[in-house]
């Protein structure tokens, strides 16, 4: 009996160490990537990078100010489009629907998620660009927003479903209507997971190039309003990275760093602003 216990304890310690190894490897990869970006692009990050427009090759300096603003605009518009659809759709699945409808919606979301980003771009192109005969920030936001929907939807549903029954039943016992229960009890209880998913979706689309090539197109200059083509960080990275010029390569790495920085900031801001919430007993 004691030997068996010792064995089980051994297995337990071994497996738990293994999980630590897994975590370590994952985090190590990230730090490696960050380090690589810093090493290769760090020197190109200066004031000019954030404030100047791109310069043609051969001229020192120049920056990606328009691409930074462009990416910010694209992400904002994409979230305004994709998050409500995903979130409210997820609420429907978790709270109001029967299993048949839920299956169909879930399946559709999973399918949408697997569409290659370039096909989403082609779709957005034929829907939003072709009829109006010009590329625009809105078209790019539409494509990115589409890509945010599946993650947001599935995760919202998942985390809403994970809220303990006692919370629901408690609220209803106090006489709250269904939607009030959802709004003030269930969603806040699940907000952490949902927020994580939204931020994950945002992070993913922030780095996508292919959907923007035929929607937001690109712009060497400032983009006015929402109806003109706009520069964006991923497209600039792509254009510069595959060019022959060493200076542009460094700017591409720098842009990668800035993009990560942008996402980091959004993460921090979102989590601190929304850090209220019902503490769920662990």
């Amino acid at each position: 009996m004691a030997a068996r216990l010792r064995w089980r304890k051994f297995v337990s310690n071994l497996m738990l160490t293994m999980t630590g190894v897994c975590a370590f490897v994952s985090v190590a990869v990230l730090f490696f990537i960050l380090g690589y970006l810093l090493f290769n692009g760090g020197t190109s990050i200066n004031w000019a990078f954030f404030t100047q427009l791109p310069k043609p090759v051969g001229e020192a300096g120049g920056g990606m100010a328009n691409a930074i603003v462009g990416s910010a605009k694209l992400l904002l518009a994409a979230s305004l489009f994709g998050v409500p659809i995903g979130f409210l759709g997820g609420v429907y699945l978790a709270e109001f629907s029967g299993s048949a409808v839920a299956s169909v919606v879930r399946y559709a979301a999973d399918l949408l998620n697997g569409v290659p980003s370039i096909v989403i771009g082609i779709f957005a192109y034929s829907l939003v660009v072709l009829p109006f005969k010009h590329f625009s920030t809105l078209a790019g936001a539409f494509a990115l927003g589409l890509m945010m929907i599946p993650i947001t939807l599935r995760s919202t549903e998942e985390f809403l479903n994970g809220v303990p029954r006692m919370l629901r039943e408690g609220a209803m016992a106090l006489g709250a209507s269904k939607w009030k229960t959802i709004a003030s009890v269930i969603v806040p209880a699940a907000y952490r997971g949902i927020l994580t998913a939204i931020l994950l979706a945002l992070a993913r689309v922030a780095g996508e190039t292919a959907p923007l090539l035929f929607t937001a197109f690109g712009n060497r200059f400032w983009s006015q309003g929402w109806g003109q083509p706009t520069a964006s960080l991923p497209v600039m990275i792509f254009t510069y990275a595959v060019s022959p010029y060493e200076d542009w390569h460094r700017q591409a790495w720098a842009a990668g760093l800035v993009l990560l920085g942008l996402i980091l900031i959004i993460n921090i801001v979102a989590r601190t602003i929304l850090s209220r919430g019902i503490a769920v007993p662990r």
């Binding site: 060497r220 200059f221 006015q224 083509p229 595959v242 060493e246």
Partner: protein, 343 residues
């Protein structure tokens, strides 16, 4: 962190200011990646001289350039391979006017390789290149390669062929050349921006091809001249139609164009691979801007015409610094006359 916040605040202000600034005329163009560096230079300089005009060119590929200008989502296109009759007709049908080609600069495709023990420029005959890319010549010490390279110690290793995986004008130039010098290539593979390669790995972009070649011993591929020049990649000489082994550089590429200039068709669609001339580099090509013959917006039309005039005179002066060959005089003159065709 503070710096970052400060930077963000600054760009917010800048963004607002830019928004409030007056609306310049924005002219969008799409097309080939090959001339992107020189175009971005030109448009930048031109914008400096004419601050109310913005030419926004994006290098999305020659095919995309043709497509977008046909659809009308951009005001002009750019391509490394001239539009064929089918595409010209499609444009005519869709936009009720014709499309005009304007050559801008010249470029070339060069053979680059990574052969252990070989550091200099190898000489390649057309037969050798065709044979290698067809997969029929498989070893570096094959007589077809060794013959013109006496004195070089070529190993008996298997050749690893690398080509472009993405559709590209460079591929068009390369396959156009091979189609001219090898009937077998013409029949089996032919010329296009994307072909069914008999052998080889695909690298994405010049970067991808160079990366693969650098890392793979015994590899051979093709890249744009300016790419090889800017990155100090060793590349070989090719035997031209006059029998001389020529290494690609600005002079030899211009020589190839000069031969073609005399016989230039009015619509400027011409292939100059395997051009006549003792000093001509045989794998050269023009690159073109695609301008619709009728432009409704008079502001845009005049801006485009103004740019073309400038490009053909002052603009050509920027080319060589970026490793592009200038247009020959005869072609420039012919183009200047053709500008009046834009209504």
């Amino acid at each position: 962190m503070k710096r970052l916040t400060g930077a963000l605040l600054a760009l917010l202000v800048v963004g607002v200011l830019a928004w409030a600034a007056q609306n310049p005329l924005l002219i969008n163009g799409a097309g080939a990646t090959f001339p992107y560096p020189i175009y971005s230079k030109w448009f930048d300089v031109y914008h400096g001289k004419n601050p109310s005009i913005q030419f926004n060119y994006q290098s999305v590929g020659s095919g995309a350039g043709i497509k977008q200008v046909t659809e009308g989502t951009v005001d002009f296109g750019a391509t490394d391979g001239p539009m064929n009759d089918e595409q010209m007709k499609a444009f005519q049908d869709k936009r009720k006017t014709s499309i005009l080609h304007f050559p801008t600069v010249l470029g070339a495709a060069v053979p680059t390789y990574n052969v252990p023990g070989v550091s200099g420029a190898l000489n390649f005959t057309p037969e050798a290149l065709a044979g290698i890319f067809l997969g029929k010549i498989t070893k570096w010490n094959d007589p077809a390669i060794a013959g013109p390279n006496k004195g070089v110690n070529l190993p008996a290793n298997d050749i690893v062929v690398v080509h472009r995986s993405d559709g590209s004008g460079t591929t068009y130039i390369w396959t156009d050349y091979l189609s001219k010098v090898s009937d077998e290539w013409k029949g089996k593979v032919s010329r296009a921006t994307s072909v069914n390669w008999p052998v080889g790995l695909g690298g994405k972009g010049n970067e991808g091809v160079t990366g693969l070649i650098k890392q793979t011993p015994n590899a051979i591929g093709y890249v744009e001249l300016i790419y090889a020049a800017q990155n100090n990649i060793p590349y070989g000489s090719v035997k031209n139609s006059a029998g001389t082994f020529v290494k690609a550089d600005l002079a030899s590429v211009s020589a190839a164009a000069a031969g073609a200039a005399k016989e230039m068709p009015d619509d400027f669609r011409v292939s100059i691979t395997n051009a006549p001339g003792k000093t001509a580099y045989p794998i050269s090509s023009f690159t073109w801007l695609l301008i619709p013959a009728k432009i409704d917006d008079t502001g845009k039309r005049d801006a485009i015409k103004g740019f073309l005039k400038w490009m053909l005179s002052d603009g050509q002066g920027n080319a060589e610094a970026l490793s592009y060959a200038k247009l020959p005089k005869e072609v420039v003159q012919k183009e200047e006359k053709a500008i009046s065709n834009i209504q």
